[in-house]
């Protein structure tokens, strides 16, 4: 099996990027089923529709760069390189999980590819990423930090304080807002009085950009630019990636609040299809190869599910490990 670092390096290849997006999609679809079947306990937040952001970021960043993600983190984790087994193992509370199975769906982590512990608190990752950038700026290790968060998170204090701090200290950090139109059950225009969240960067004199979050190339381009600026000492960037989540907020949400037709409009710009078409157009792939990739990915996910079902549940002893404080 490939290591997380190898999986990360693979993204240099465009086909691997498509495959990774497919993997995330397939994984998330399967996760939805597993929860529906009652195989998995607790809650989960899937990211179908947002794959281009995850993979675009992972493609640009180095493994030594540090990333803060959220409870909606399976896609980010897989993109950054975590194995299917590590992510599913965590979701299913197995010793094979990314943090040994005591964390669950909302708590993934892999230091080998720079994934800091994902947080289930909206906005928390923003100042934490600023801190990772601070460490980078002081140790001079050349790494950048990146925070991923949703549209809803731009209304919480940690967003404001984090961006301000990054600007004042001119830190190598990239703020990536995945504006997927909803925060839980609330359309973002009901909680946010402006249309483009990128506007908010101005309040901190942070260069900001609206990015087509359905286009892998657009995400890659914007993130590259931002990372370059960061590494060159130019300070933070704020990117608003316009995207959409096909599923409801979490396991419990059927997303009945969506206006008629909205999902369809976004499906028409599905990031996987768009990128597949592009690679077909360039002659890198043909339709049959795309279908074969999809099939291979589905098989891999299914095998992982079987392996993980059979894996050892997290132990009582593991509850007492890694506690600190004594």
């Amino acid at each position: 099996m490939m290591t997380p670092r190898e999986r990360r390096a693979a993204l240099a290849d465009p086909v691997a990027c498509l495959e990774r997006m497919m993997e995330i999609r397939s994984f998330e679809d399967r996760i939805k089923e597993l929860f529906a079947e009652g195989v998995v306990h607790g809650t989960t937040h899937t990211c179908q529709g947002q794959e281009a952001v995850s993979v675009g970021i992972a493609k640009v960043l180095e493994p030594a760069d540090q990333v803060c993600c959220t409870y909606r983190g399976h896609g980010h984790a897989l993109a950054l390189g975590l194995t299917l087994d590590a992510v599913l193992g965590e979701i299913m509370g197995r010793t094979t999980g990314a943090v040994g199975g005591v964390g669950g769906s909302m708590h993934l982590c892999d230091r080998s590819v720079g994934l800091l512990p994902t947080s289930a608190i909206v906005g928390a990752g923003i100042p934490i990423a600023v801190g990772a950038a601070l460490a980078s700026s002081m140790t001079g290790d050349g790494s950048v930090a990146l925070a991923l968060f949703g549209d809803g998170a731009t209304n919480i204090g940690a967003f404001h304080e984090g961006l301000n701090l990054a600007a004042i200290w001119r830190l190598p950090v990239v703020f990536v807002c995945e504006n997927n139109v909803y925060g839980e059950y609330s359309r973002f225009d009901r909680t946010t009085p402006i249309e483009d969240l990128a506007e908010r960067g101005r309040a901190y004199a942070i260069p900001s950009e609206i990015v087509d979050g359905q286009s892998l190339d657009a995400v890659v381009g914007a993130v590259e630019h931002a990372v370059e600026r960061a590494r060159a000492g130019g300070g933070p960037t704020f990117l608003e990636c316009k995207t959409y989540r096909y599923s409801g907020h979490s396991r419990a949400d059927a997303a009945t609040y969506r206006p008629e037709g909205e999902l369809d409009r976004w499906l028409a710009r599905d990031p996987l299809s768009l990128y597949a078409q592009q690679l077909v157009g360039l002659g890198v792939l043909d339709d049959a190869k795309v279908a074969a990739l999809r099939k291979a990915v589905d098989d891999r996910v299914n095998e992982c599910v079987e392996r993980t079902k059979a894996a050892e549940p997290a132990t009582v002893e593991s509850m007492f490990r890694n506690v600190g404080g004594r």
Partner: protein, 337 residues
């Protein structure tokens, strides 16, 4: 009438909203979505979007807004989806609201209810499964209420809304879906500060709150011990008189808590009773708690984490039979000091 705790909460709020036009509700997705745990079912439909308001994800903002509104004529109820989220807004509750009456010389009050879901058992993991009573219990000016089911949720919520000062209501999330016979209307109102004796017996006084009350009751039954079971219902101020009178009779106190051993809410009860009832005590005061670890995610470990019916039964039996302190399981198994 039998109802689920989430329905009891919604109904208590509705009944107060009908009676008092200044009562209103705000929080994340409590209006159109009727609350992530459906604790505000029907409220938007009946009372409209001015009195039942969805908020942005801004706990500091809307707790502050609730306080300002409370001070100037409304009686807001704020929903904090998971109690941990108050960690971004604790200031408003403890440093502002709790001191508003004091720091205004009584000119302004803050009749504000902060409701939050708490506890483990549903697989929400370490950042969404704590109870966190201790963030509130040592804050003069705050009351803290913890229902143990639909009946107390209804009765205490109505009193909390009517209270002239800020009240924090901590609701065990696992109980939302549980059904219990519930008296509604004025008869169903339960005053704050008054505990309830759910079982009586002579060998021990068992004190609990929230989802542990049910487990404690089961455990007493299972152990076949004759014990008083007291549901404190209000944690601040807790009903010292009731507990002391019981311990004076039984000579033994067992506190059953869903909180860490170190600093859990029961320390307050155990420390006070150990002191004020010293002469009556025939055995050491006992706290049955969770271990000092973050709440684990998997279902099987959550149940190891929480005091179990078996564990409670064993501990009560132990203290009654031996007159000595039962050693917590994690110490026995050498997992931690």
């Amino acid at each position: 009438m039998k109802m689920r705790m989430r329905q009891a909460i919604a109904q208590a709020i509705a009944d107060e909203m009908r009676a008092d036009p200044t009562v209103m509700l705000m929080g994340e997705d409590i209006a159109e979505a009727e609350g992530p745990f459906k604790t505000s079912e029907g409220l938007l439909a009946e009372f409209g979007p001015l009195r039942v308001r969805d908020t942005p994800i801004s706990e500091m903002g809307f707790c502050g807004a609730a306080l300002g509104a409370a001070a100037t004529g409304l009686r807001p109820i704020v929903e904090i989806m998971f109690i941990e989220f108050i960690g971004v807004a604790l200031d408003m509750v403890t440093t502002e609201a709790a001191k508003f009456r004091y720091l205004s010389g009584g000119q302004y009050t803050a009749p504000l209810v902060v409701r939050a879901s708490t506890g483990a058992g549903l697989g929400f993991g370490a950042q969404h499964s704590q109870t966190l009573e201790s963030w509130f219990t040592s804050c003069p000016g705050l009351k803290v209420v913890v229902p143990s089911g639909s009946r107390t949720a209804y009765g205490l919520m109505r009193s909390a809304i009517r209270d002239p000062d800020p009240v924090v209501v901590l609701e065990s999330r696992t109980l939302y879906a549980e059904r219990e016979e519930t008296v509604t209307g004025e008869e169903g109102v339960i005053p704050l500060g008054v505990g309830e004796v759910l079982r009586t017996g002579g060998d021990a006084t068992v004190v609990s709150i929230g989802q542990m009350v049910g487990r404690a009751a089961q455990a007493i039954g299972q152990a076949g011990i004759s014990a008083d079971l007291i549901d404190l219902r209000t944690l601040v101020p807790w009903d010292r008189g009731l507990v002391e009178a019981s311990v004076a009779r039984t000579g033994r106190l067992v506190v059953v808590e869903e909180s860490p051993y170190t600093g859990g809410w029961g320390t307050d009860v155990a420390a006070h009773v150990a002191s004020s009832c010293f002469a009556s005590l025939r055995a050491p005061v006992v706290r049955i708690t969770c271990p000092d670890v973050p709440v684990p995610y998997p279902a099987h470990l959550e149940q190891v984490y929480l005091p179990s019916v078996d564990g409670i039964a064993r501990a009560i039996t132990h203290v009654v039979e031996t007159g000595t302190r039962p050693v917590p399981w994690w110490e026995k198994e050498g997992l931690v000091r």
